[in-house]
């Protein structure tokens, strides 16, 4: 009787993205809009490539001692970045060191993200006692000064890659849990969550399919930052002597062994310092850039 008229489609400025590849191409092109993101991505990519290709492009084995070079350890045509106090080629050690760092740090972040997301989702969704317990537990873990915790745990259990990943996961998970919890508390009030309940969705579905995807943005930015901080911590642990056990080249460990000789041979410590700094700068710039892009959308 009374016509209900159809609304015509609004003129869309971008075509509906079809296909996985095109969606990713669009995201990558967005990346280029932010200079920090570009530089950051470039730095990270550089080190990832270095890590992956280390066995191929490193001129020497990282633990090979070149006794002849000990007389002149400074950079030369045979050793582009010089050698350390044991005659090992710095360039090779730096390249191989990237492998260790870039395996441990991201794995730890992934572990923290998984654990933290689960904790945050459950706490934020159920509230009540679960929430209280999770929050208090996180507070206790977070109130513990991190380095002290590392020292105690690693001194007792020894340091291996697995232990470091485990410790990093446990100590970083609460931070992520807090973020996810905050987002969950906000998102669970959304009407689409109520709609999901009305059609009988289980809490697990709601948490993982309705809420989590919408927490993606801040979570990704934070994971980027976490990876950067993890690299710093791994370096610091190595510097303090409780990092990965020798002879695996570890940037922090390299600095620890050689900074005492800085007045004579500064290059031995400077190059690994530059390496770790540039990698972390890369991650942090990437995070800054991603945040900018996210805000602009």
């Amino acid at each position: 009787m009374h016509p209900t008229t159809a609304e015509h489609l609004p003129a869309v400025s971008e075509p509906v993205s079809r296909g996985f590849a095109q969606a990713w191409a669009r995201r990558l092109s967005l990346l280029t809009e932010s200079k920090p993101a570009l530089i950051g991505a470039g730095l990270v990519l550089f080190w990832v490539l270095a890590a992956v290709l280390a066995p191929v492009i490193a001129p020497y084995s990282p633990n090979a001692n070149d006794m002849a070079a000990l007389a002149h350890p400074t950079p030369s045509s045979t050793h582009w970045l010089g050698t350390d106090h044991l005659g090992r080629d710095v360039l090779s050690r730096v390249l191989w060191g990237a492998r260790t760092v870039l395996t441990v740090a991201p794995l730890a972040v992934l572990g923290a993200a998984l654990l933290g997301s689960l904790l945050g989702l459950t706490a934020g969704y159920y509230r009540g006692w679960t929430d209280l317990a999770v929050v208090r537990a996180c507070d206790i873990v977070l109130s513990f000064p991190v380095i002290i915790l590392y020292m105690i745990i690693l001194a007792h259990f020894g340091s291996s890659a697995l232990n470091i990943i485990a410790v990093l996961t446990l100590t970083k998970a609460p931070i992520i849990a807090r973020i996810v919890r905050g987002l969950t508390i906000e998102l669970r009030e959304r009407e689409y969550v109520a709609a999901a309940k009305l059609r009988g969705e289980s809490p697990l579905y709601i948490m993982l399919v309705e809420i989590l995807p919408n927490a993606r943005g801040p979570l990704i930015v934070d994971m980027c930052l976490r990876t950067g901080y993890n690299v710093v911590i791994i370096g610091a642990l190595g510097f303090l002597g409780i990092g990965l056990p020798p002879p695996d080249p570890d940037w922090g460990g390299m600095v620890k062994d050689t900074y005492g000789m800085m007045s004579v041979w500064p290059h031995m410590a400077l190059f690994p310092c530059a390496a770790i700094s540039s990698l972390v700068i890369g991650f942090n710039l990437l995070a800054v850039g991603l945040r900018e892009i996210g805000l602009r959308d």
């Binding site: 920090p36 208090r136 507070d139 206790i140 109130s143 513990f144 000064p145 991190v146 380095i147 002290i148 020292m151 105690i152 745990i153 001194a155 007792h156 950067g228 710093v232 370096g235 610091a236 510097f239 303090l240 002597g241 409780i242 922090g252 600095v255 900074y259 800085m262 007045s263 500064p266 410590a269 400077l270 310092c273 530059a274 770790i276 700094s277 972390v280 700068i281 991650f283 942090n284 710039l285 800054v288």
Partner: protein, 316 residues
């Protein structure tokens, strides 16, 4: 109002005690997992097995955990903090001294970090995407990215090796022609750079968010100068979130600066803990952990208090 403050303090003190209890128990239990090493460490690598077991029994390390834990609490309450096996001195002779050293360094650093980061953070945030903002953002990001030891190495290579203006170590013993004050410059500089970088980013982000709020538009459209709008209206709002972060830095400054202390051989709390942990000096580790946690919870309490004082929306 007084009642609510009292309730607030009570709640936090209760949490502090709970945390201390939980943490101390955890640390205690961890030690339980490597008993033999303690005695061995004390006696040295050449001790025989019988000697190790004898010492273990003498030190009472083979009794059940719970009873030892209760005893430990009892001793603490009585004021007996135990003896350090690493330094061969009563714990209380070492710990407070080292804590004081670190606290001194922390105070110096804090006094620089707070005004510096507030100034830079607000300057950056109040005009987002301006040249000033980009510059400060880059500076903050880079400074917070370079690990402390790397910062130490870089600064040392310039000021100690190349220029020779400052000493390379900070043992707090005036000697070799370097005054104590000059020894502190580099450690403080490293801490300030690294930490301020992080705090600046937080304050900047908070300021940016506040500047986009409608009440800033209201203030501008009242006809105020931009500077006045920022100082009178934006500042307090922008500091609400960062204030807790800033106060949490105190926690980092006490326990987290072990790396800086190591670089410059500074006799601080963090280095003490490191050596104690490596040496399995139980007494020192346990008391040290308690102190560190107490500092952490206290600073958290300060942070919460500051938050309440700044934001009237929290008060009923």
């Amino acid at each position: 109002m007084a009642l609510t403050v009292a309730r607030f303090v009570l709640k936090h003190v209760a949490f502090l005690l709970l945390t201390l209890l939980v943490v101390s128990f955890l640390v205690f239990t961890l030690n339980e997992l490597s008993l033999g090493d303690v005695a061995r460490k004390v006696l040295g690598a050449y001790a025989t097995q019988e000697q190790v077991e004898l010492l273990t029994r003498e030190m009472g390390l083979n009794r059940p955990v719970l009873s030892r834990y209760v005893e430990f609490l009892g001793r603490l309450a009585a004021g007996d903090l135990g003896t350090s096996t690493r330094f061969k001195l009563p714990v209380k002779d070492i710990i407070w001294h080292r804590l004081a050293n670190t606290a001194f360094l922390a105070a110096l650093a804090f006094a620089c970090i707070v005004p510096l980061s507030m100034l830079l953070g607000v300057m950056a945030g109040m005009r987002e995407s301006s040249t000033v903002d980009r510059a400060i953002l880059m500076f903050g990001t880079v400074a917070a990215s370079v690990p402390e030891f790397a910062l130490g190495v870089f600064l040392a290579s310039v000021f100690v090796v190349a220029l020779g203006w400052l000493p390379g170590t900070a043992t707090l013993v005036a000697g070799g022609g370097w005054s104590v004050a000059s020894q502190l410059v580099l450690p403080v500089a490293v801490i300030v750079l690294f930490d301020a970088g992080y705090v600046v980013s937080m304050i900047r982000a908070s300021t940016i968010e506040v500047m986009q709020r409608p009440y800033i538009r209201t203030a501008i459209l009242k006809g105020m100068t931009f500077r006045r709008v920022v100082v009178r209206h934006a500042l307090r709002n922008a500091m609400i979130n960062p204030i807790t972060v800033i106060l949490l830095q105190i926690n980092y400054l006490i326990s987290g600066v072990v790396v800086v202390e190591t670089v410059f051989a500074y006799p601080g709390f963090g280095r003490m803990m490191l050596e104690a942990a490596l040496f399995k000096d139980i007494a020192l580790v346990e008391v040290g952990a308690l102190v560190a946690v107490a500092v952490a919870v206290l600073t958290q309490m300060l942070g919460d208090l500051a938050y309440v004082l700044l934001d009237p929306r929290i008060r009923p």
